[in-house]
Symmetry: C2
Subunit: 389 residues, 2 copies
C-alpha cells in the first residue's frame, strides 16, 4: 500500500462520541433555483419573506428565477433587502418587526452565508417574544423557528447546511456565533452557476474561509485521527486547485461546483466527528474581532490572522505544521499563495492603526483563555497580532 | 503543493445534479445502546418490535443494554429472532403477520445490515395492504412506513444510514435491492464496542464489503472527479489499516470505531454525489447471484468476484486500475491481501460446482446489459466467472 500509514505522533483516533443529525435537504446542481417555488408549495406555504443582500441576487439571475418560481406557484412574498457581510442585528430586528405586522410561513434567503445567517436569526426571532439578541447571547433558549428554505448564491460558510448563525452588534461591540438544532435550513438549493458573477475577491476570500474551516481542525493539536488528517488534506488540495481555476475563469462550472460542495461539507459538522475538541477556531475569533472594527470580509480577516496564529502556536507544538508542510505546503508558501490571489496577509495592508492593536486584543481577550493546540491568554493574543502586523 | 494534481485523464467533475437528504439521526460512540429507550420514549412510543439475528445480540451485550433501557422507559416489546445473512423474505412475512395481531409503534433492529434490512422491510410491509414482495419488486410504491430506530452491532452495509434494503426470495431465485426515501431509519445507534465479539471472518468479510462500496465507484469509468478519487483513496487506506489491526486485536476501539464510521459513510450516498452513474455495482450483482445459490456471506462473494471483474473490465478500460495500482496497490496484491486475511478469492475454494457456472451466469444475465466502466452482456459475465474460477 502506498502512503497513508499512521503518522508517528498519532495517539488516539475517533475518541469522542458524536451525533450526526442534519435534517436539511440539499439540492445541488444546475438550474435548480427554479424549483424553489414547487418545494415551498409542497409544505403548504402561501406567503414567504424573501431576504437578500445587495445587487448579487439580481446580477446572478437568482432573483429572477426565484420570483418567477414563486409566482408560478402563487406564493405571495415580501422582501427584505440589504444584508451586509458580517450581518448586523439591526436588519434582523427590522425584519422581525415587519413579520409582526405581516406574518409569513417560510423565510427564504437568496444570497450567501450572511443572508442565510440573517434568515436563521429572523426565523428564530419571529417565534420569540422578546429581543433577538437574548437568543444570540443564549439568555433564552430557541424553542421554535419558522422554516428556512433558501437559494445559495455564494459559498463559504456552510450556513446552508449547518445550525450556526453569526451576528454583529455594533452597539455592544460583539460578533457572536450562536447555534441550535432548530437553525438547520429545511431546504438549501445550491446552483454553482449562480456564482459565476461573484467578484474575484469574494471568490478568493470565500475560498480562504473554506480552507480555514478545514485548517482550524487540522491544527487542533496532536490527537487528530489519521483518517481526518487525510480527509482535510483532500479538501485543502481541492481548494488549492479550484481557487486559481476560478481566478482564471469564473465561469468554470466544474471548479465552481467543487468549490461550492467543499464549502458545504467543510463546516456542516462532518469534519469534526471523532475529533476531540471539534476544532480550535482561535483564528476565527481573532478574525471576528478584526472585522468588527474594520470593514473587511471574514475571509480577508482570516488570510491575515490564520498564518500568524499558526506561526505563533507552532512554537509550542510544531507537530501539525510539520505534517502540513510535508503534505500541503510550508507557512511561507501559504502566505505567498494567499498574496498571489490578491488577499491581504498583514494588518498594515488593511490600514489597521497601530494603536488599535490593544483594542482588538481586548476584544479577543474577552474570550480568553481559548484554543486547543495552545491555550491563548491576552499576552499570546498580543503576540499573534504583532506577527500579523 | 505536494500531490493531488489533477489526473491527466480527468475530463469532467461534479457533472450531475444531486439531492442530499438523510433524515437519519446517528448517535455514534461508547455506551450509547443504553440510550435507545429514552429515544424511543421521546417519540411517544409505548410498544415496539425488536428484530435480531442469532446469538450476536446476546454475545455482544446489546440485547442486555437494549432490553434494560426499554424496561426503564416502560416500553413493551415483542421479539423476532433469527434473521440470517442475505435475509429472507419469509421472516419478513412472519413479522408482518405478527404485527397484524399485535401492532407496535416502532421497529427496532438490534444487529447488522441484514437485521436492519429486515426491519426496513417489516416497517414498510406493516403499512401495506398486500404482499411485501410487491414492494420489493416495485410493483407498488412504498407510501408509508413505521419508524425504524435501531442499534447496530456489525458494520458493513450502511443500512443504518441509507434508504436501501436487500431481500432474498429463494422460491423465485431472486436477491433484490429496493429503495425508498421512507426507508431511512429514524435513529441508528452505532457503538463500536458492541462489535468486539464479532468473529474474525465477519470482520474481514464486512471490511471487504466496505471496500467494495468504495471500489464500485472508483471503477465507475474515466469520469470520476479527482475530488472523489482522492476521497475513495482515503477510505480504502483506512480499511487497509483497520482490518489487519482488528485481526490482531478485535477489541481495538480506535480501529473498530474507524471501521464502523467508514462503513456508514461508504454507502449512505455521499460517495456518489457528483458522480455520473452513482457507481458501477457489477461486482455486487455478480456477488448477489453467488450468495443466492451458495450459503456464503456477501463479503466473501465480493472478495471472489470483484478482483475478477476488475481484471476483465480493465482490458477494455485500463485507466482506473492504473490509478488504483499507483495509489493503492496492484490487482495481484489486492488478491493476496484478501487471501492473507483468510477471505476466499476463487470459486473453487467455496466449492462452486463447475456446471453451476451457467446457472449463476443466467441469474446475473437477467440484469444485463449492466455496468458503466464496460457494458456487460451474458458472454462477458461468463468470462468474469471463469476468471473467478
Amino acid at each position: 500500500m502506498k502512503g497513508g500509514t499512521c503518522a508517528g505522533f498519532l495517539r488516539e483516533r475517533m475518541i469522542n462520541n458524536f451525533t450526526w443529525y442534519i435534517p436539511t435537504m440539499v439540492m445541488f446542481g444546475k438550474g435548480l433555483a427554479q424549483k424553489i417555488g414547487d418545494q415551498i408549495a409542497s409544505v403548504g406555504a402561501k406567503k414567504i419573506m424573501l431576504i437578500m443582500g445587495g445587487q448579487s441576487a439580481y446580477k446572478s439571475g437568482a432573483y429572477e428565477q426565484v420570483s418567477q418560481s414563486l409566482k408560478k406557484n402563487r406564493i405571495e412574498f415580501i422582501e427584505i433587502v440589504g444584508v451586509k457581510s458580517n450581518p448586523h442585528v439591526e436588519l434582523v430586528r427590522e425584519a422581525i418587526a415587519r413579520l409582526a405586522v405581516t406574518p409569513v410561513d417560510v423565510i427564504v434567503p437568496v444570497g450567501g452565508g450572511s443572508v442565510f445567517d440573517t434568515a436563521k436569526a429572523v426565523a428564530a426571532g419571529a417565534k420569540y417574544n422578546g429581543d433577538i439578541w437574548d437568543l444570540v447571547k443564549g439568555k433564552s433558549p430557541i424553542t421554535k423557528t419558522l422554516p428556512v428554505m433558501g437559494v445559495l448564491t455564494a459559498s463559504a460558510t456552510s450556513s446552508e447546511m449547518n445550525n450556526i448563525a453569526v451576528l454583529t452588534n455594533h452597539k455592544t461591540e460583539e460578533k457572536i456565533s450562536f447555534t441550535s438544532p432548530l437553525l438547520y435550513p429545511k431546504l438549501s438549493i445550491i446552483d454553482p452557476e449562480l456564482q459565476y458573477t461573484l467578484p474575484e475577491r469574494q471568490t478568493v476570500a470565500g475560498g480562504i474561509d473554506i480552507m480555514a474551516h478545514v485548517m482550524e481542525r487540522y491544527f487542533e493539536g496532536n490527537e487528530v485521527p489519521e483518517l481526518l488528517f487525510e480527509q482535510y488534506e483532500v479538501y485543502l488540495r481541492s481548494m488549492l486547485r479550484c481557487i486559481p481555476e476560478l481566478r482564471a475563469n469564473p465561469r468554470n462550472y466544474d471548479a465552481r461546483a467543487e468549490y461550492a460542495w467543499i464549502a458545504t461539507l467543510s463546516h456542516n459538522g462532518s469534519l469534526s466527528y471523532g475529533l476531540k475538541n471539534r476544532g480550535d477556531f482561535s483564528s476565527h475569533k481573532l478574525g471576528h474581532a478584526l472585522s468588527l472594527f474594520y470593514d473587511i470580509s471574514h475571509g480577508d480577516s482570516i488570510s491575515i490572522m490564520m498564518p500568524s496564529w499558526i506561526e505563533y502556536v507552532s512554537k509550542f507544538n510544531p507537530v501539525p505544521l510539520e505534517r502540513f508542510t510535508k503534505n500541503i505546503m510550508g507557512l511561507d508558501e501559504l502566505r505567498s499563495t494567499f498574496r498571489s490571489w490578491g488577499a491581504p496577509i498583514t494588518l498594515r495592508e488593511i490600514k489597521v492603526r497601530e494603536n488599535d492593536i490593544e483594542r482588538i486584543a481586548d476584544n479577543v481577550a474577552k474570550l480568553a483563555p481559548m484554543g486547543t493546540i495552545k491555550t491563548l491568554e491576552r499576552e499570546d493574543i498580543i503576540e499573534i497580532i504583532k506577527i500579523a502586523w
